[in-house]
């Protein structure tokens, strides 16, 4: 790699992929090191970690995320921080640093991690997936990504949003590279109370689907546009040609999964951003006379509308009179979704579905409302997120405008190698027209 050329390319990025770039890290990187970027909500020692928010524009933590420490120990070098939506609550259009534009067509949006990897600024990215949105953006941005079973990677050092469900994953141009990064950071960590006890994981998997029982998720196929649906059907044909047994299932209990996810996101987001008050770190208003004004004006001036909307909704659904009809029911939906998936996985190994109804969204259509969950794309990642399942995504097929559609493959908790096997098989399989 010509580091000078790489440095120039990254500096000239027109997509707003990175909120910070460390030229010295790139230039001084050992020859055998692998350059990565990390999402802006992963804490990094003595580095500004803003989580896409004005509220944390100056926050330099004295500690760092366990996943970053493990990645560095395994030979990865962090060369920059990828743009995310504010506190990872929505797409990059809500970032204080501005939206990230799709490298293939800058009229469309993507995530900073996907744009950085797709443009070759880094080999891979460590991301924090919340609700499947970050995986979706990776696939629609032309990248592959892998999110392991919830609890496999330490969440210590995430600037948290959706604590009960968010999980660190990897993005790369191919699924092997993404899985290798996740393998380097996975394993028990006592600093995370939800960390699974297994000390390490092996995500090496062959591109072999012979005999695998793979089911298409009818509900998500029906919710996708015809071209994205056709791409998913083509993927199923390719998997069948490689020896998989294809069937179709319905996720009946997942009908309320998007609403349940929205309630959890609001409730947990509300609590997680309540700590940002302008006292110990981050933004403080210049205009206050008492402590109440300090809190209210600091938060009012520095937190964006989507985060405010979710926080206010969170207070509402957690209020005494609303807990039963909203929050409690959301947790009940999660239970039923998990039960149904457990049952489905007794007769099939893997589920296949589109990641979104169509290609990456137009920048002009984004953020029509500060409430992000009305976007139908959220429904596609809701069930697997609520159940904490391992998911592999990859770009598959192309829209008329040349942008990729995305596929997702998910398996039962702890069976992380299955989606990787199928994703690898699809990457290796010949494609009918329009391959990306």
């Amino acid at each position: 790699m010509d580091k000078e050329k790489q440095l120039q390319r990254i500096s000239a990025d027109r997509c707003n992929s990175l909120v910070q770039f460390y030229p010295a890290a790139l230039q001084e990187m050992p020859a055998d090191a692998v350059a990565i970027v990390v999402d802006d909500n992963l804490i990094q020692r003595d580095t500004v970690c803003a989580a896409g928010s004005h509220m944390l524009y100056s926050f330099r933590p004295p500690f760092q995320a366990e996943a970053i420490t493990r990645a560095q120990a395994a030979g990865y070098t962090v060369i920059g921080r990828a743009n995310i939506g504010e506190f990872n609550m929505a797409g990059s259009e809500t970032s204080w640093f501005g939206p990230t534009l799709h490298p293939q067509d800058t009229a469309h949006l993507t995530s900073g991690a996907a744009a950085a990897v797709a443009q070759g600024f880094a080999e891979a990215a460590l991301i924090v997936d919340a609700g499947g949105a970050n995986l979706r953006q990776a696939a629609l941005g032309g990248c592959s990504a892998f999110r392991p079973t919830y609890g496999s990677v330490s969440r210590f050092g995430i600037i948290a949003f959706l604590s009960s469900s968010e999980q660190i994953g990897g993005v790369a141009r191919d699924i092997d590279t993404a899985a290798a990064l996740v393998q380097a950071v996975a394993g028990h960590d006592e600093k995370d109370a939800t960390s699974l006890p297994k000390p390490q994981y092996d995500y090496a998997a062959a591109a072999d689907v012979a005999g695998l029982r793979i089911a298409l998720v009818e509900d998500l196929l029906a919710a996708a546009g015809a071209p994205a649906r056709a791409a998913t059907e083509q993927a199923a044909e390719a998997l069948a040609a490689a020896g998989a047994q294809i069937s179709r299932i319905r996720l009946r209990q997942a009908a309320l999964a998007p609403q349940a996810l929205a309630v959890m996101a609001a409730a947990e987001g509300c609590n997680n951003i309540s700590r940002f008050d302008g006292v110990k770190y981050g933004y403080r208003t210049a205009n206050y006379r008492n402590i109440e004004e300090l809190y209210c004006r600091s938060r009012g001036e520095a937190i964006g509308e989507t985060a405010k909307c979710l926080a206010m909704l969170g207070s509402l659904v957690l209020a005494k009179d609303n807990y039963e009809p909203y929050y409690r029911k959301a947790l009940q939906v999660r239970y039923l979704v998990k039960q149904e998936l457990d049952q489905i996985f007794t007769s099939c190994d893997l589920l296949l579905a589109p990641v979104a109804p169509a290609e990456a969204p137009l920048a002009a259509d984004a953020a029509a409302s500060p409430f992000p969950f009305c976007d139908p794309a959220h429904a596609f990642g809701a069930a697997a997120t609520l159940a904490g399942l391992p998911v592999a995504v990859l770009p598959y097929g192309t829209a008329e405008n040349g942008l990729p559609f995305g596929l997702q493959l998910f398996a039962d908790s702890g069976h992380d190698s299955l989606p990787l096997r199928a994703a690898k098989a699809l990457q290796a399989a010949p494609r009918k027209g329009g391959a990306c």
């Binding site: 302008g278 110990k280 004006r297 909307c309």
Partner: protein, 93 residues
């Protein structure tokens, strides 16, 4: 949403909002509540609850005293400090 309830939510969250934000966020919360109607109206019965993805139950560490950061490290991020402490307006007379 009633103005009074909206104001209560903003106050509870310590958000000083502009008139334009009041309008947009009020409409957004109405949209959110409309979106949640199917969940609100669902008859959940005595279905069990699942708090964490994958049904994980958090395992907490035993409390132990450790000195992790120095005062200087902690105060390095303070928007305002005085006499080696976080500076805030007077909260009691």
């Amino acid at each position: 949403m009633e103005k009074e309830q909206f104001a209560k939510l903003a106050s509870f969250n310590k958000f000083a909002l502009t008139p334009a934000e009041n309008e947009r966020l009020s409409a957004a919360l109405d949209t959110a509540l409309d979106f949640l109607v199917p969940l609100r109206d669902w008859q959940a019965g005595d279905t069990p609850l699942m708090v964490y993805a994958a049904g994980i139950a958090p395992v907490y560490r035993t409390d132990r005293v450790e000195k992790i950061f120095s005062r200087e490290q902690i105060l390095a991020n303070a928007p305002e400090e005085a006499e080696h402490c976080f500076a805030v307006p007077r909260v009691a007379d």
